[in-house]
Symmetry: C2
DNA sequence: CGCATATAGATCGTATCCATTTGTGATTCA
DNA sequence: TGAATCACAAATGGATACGATCTATATGCG
């Protein structure tokens, strides 16, 4: 909550309204409250948020950039339904970016940042202890925030934005293809990474991050859902 | 020309019109025909392209996402004037991404791709031989296309889009802070990279790419212009 | 039962209007 | 004469209505 505001990808605010709608839709998509394939009608979204189509279109265009929604000409905007191939590309991109981000973060990280990470880890533990879908969504979000915080600490605004997109898409992919056991091992690995950060051990932190991403992707049932994707396409 | 069409960052085309305007403005900005700080009035651009403000706004919003234009609330859109800090972040991002992209490209590159690269190198040589600002712009563009082709070969659409943005911003930065000698050494390094690609030597190709980026950034007069940036801010 | 056509629905693009903000220029006062 | 205040013009941001275009469903015919 407090973190995500500090992690806003854009310093300049073109319009508060569109950004608010974008954030709301983003959260809804990432939290799986909006299922992939769901049609996001401009009029409908506009009436929901009491905004005109102009603002909604700006928000939808932003989401289309991020890959969270796909727009089809004269058909409208739909919640993105990542293919296994796209899912793989998301993690391939993260494998490229995040080790370097971690290395850059080690150079600039302060003790205050470390404290912030520790606090974030406690949040993850808290949601891990709870049951139910809402807790799991909060857990996925907290896990993503960890990676966003790293990008924030790295100090590179561009990489921060790239990670913003990649984490959002990852959350969608995890919600789609994820089994259950991702979280627990994930937290442990987050803690290990923070330990390495605290010791300013860039090499170790990077290696841990790489393995962490490998584990996240390995825990996905991408192959199994290929059949389900077909079924989804049929009943929609 | 023919390449950039194949390298379009979005498979799905939300609206041809806005994309066309975006491309035109992009080229104009990257080619330095539109100087940084230039105001891009919605009405003016709209009348130039014979499009309504709606479409122009979509195009400007896309460009704002890419960092090529900056929008100020109730003031309008302006061609971005990258600060030295932003310029450095662009190259830091490229240093992270491109070696990995090269490695991925080695895995998938075909002999036909190699031929394409050779042909691209000849284009660079051709523009290198010519004089004048238009030839230099074409040279910068051709040099950028080389990197975009690599991202294309890597097969990762996400990385392709990231590179699309980074190359565009790099071209802007080079046009702003560049001295003159970048191009010649750049071409030689491109050729070396292609050689390594042909031998499927991922490690060497990655290392060459890293050095190449280092050289590009080293040849910029970022430090000198820091004072000029202040002067620019004053006389604008 | 399959296919082509026609109609209905929705979206996309344009034009127009209003509100808000910015920047400039004129007026006024010290 | 200089500076500060105020007013007006211009542009953006946002909302709405209308026409054009495309999709999708339904209907009719072979």
């Amino acid at each position: 909550m407090s973190i995500s505001e500090k992690l806003l990808p854009f310093d300049v605010v073109p319009d508060d309204r569109a950004l608010a709608i974008r954030e709301a839709l983003r959260n809804a998509i990432v939290d799986r409250r909006l299922a992939p394939g769901t049609k996001l009608s401009e009029s409908e979204v506009g009436s929901l948020f009491e905004a005109s189509r102009t603002v909604v279109r700006a928000a939808l265009q932003m989401l289309a950039f991020e890959g969270l929604v796909k727009t089809e000409r004269n058909r409208g905007a739909f919640v993105s339904n990542p293919t296994p191939e796209e899912a793989h590309q998301v993690f391939a991109s993260r494998r490229l970016l995040e080790p370097g981000i971690v290395s850059a973060a080690v150079e600039r990280i302060t003790d205050a940042d470390i404290d912030m990470f520790r606090h974030q880890l406690q949040e993850e533990v808290r949601f891990m202890g709870e049951r139910g879908p809402s807790a799991r969504r909060a857990e996925i979000k907290a896990s993503g925030d960890f990676h966003l915080m790293l990008a924030h600490v790295s100090g590179n605004v561009i990489l921060q934005r790239f990670m913003d997109e990649l984490v959002a898409r990852s959350s969608l992919v995890i919600a789609l293809y994820g089994s259950t056991g991702v979280s627990r091992c994930g937290h442990h690995e987050h803690a290990d990474i923070v330990d390495a950060l605290q010791k300013r051990d860039a090499a170790r932190a990077s290696a841990l991050m790489l393995h962490h991403i490998d584990h996240i992707e390995a825990d996905l049932d991408i192959r199994v859902r290929e059949g389900l994707a077909l079924k989804d396409a049929l009943d929609i």
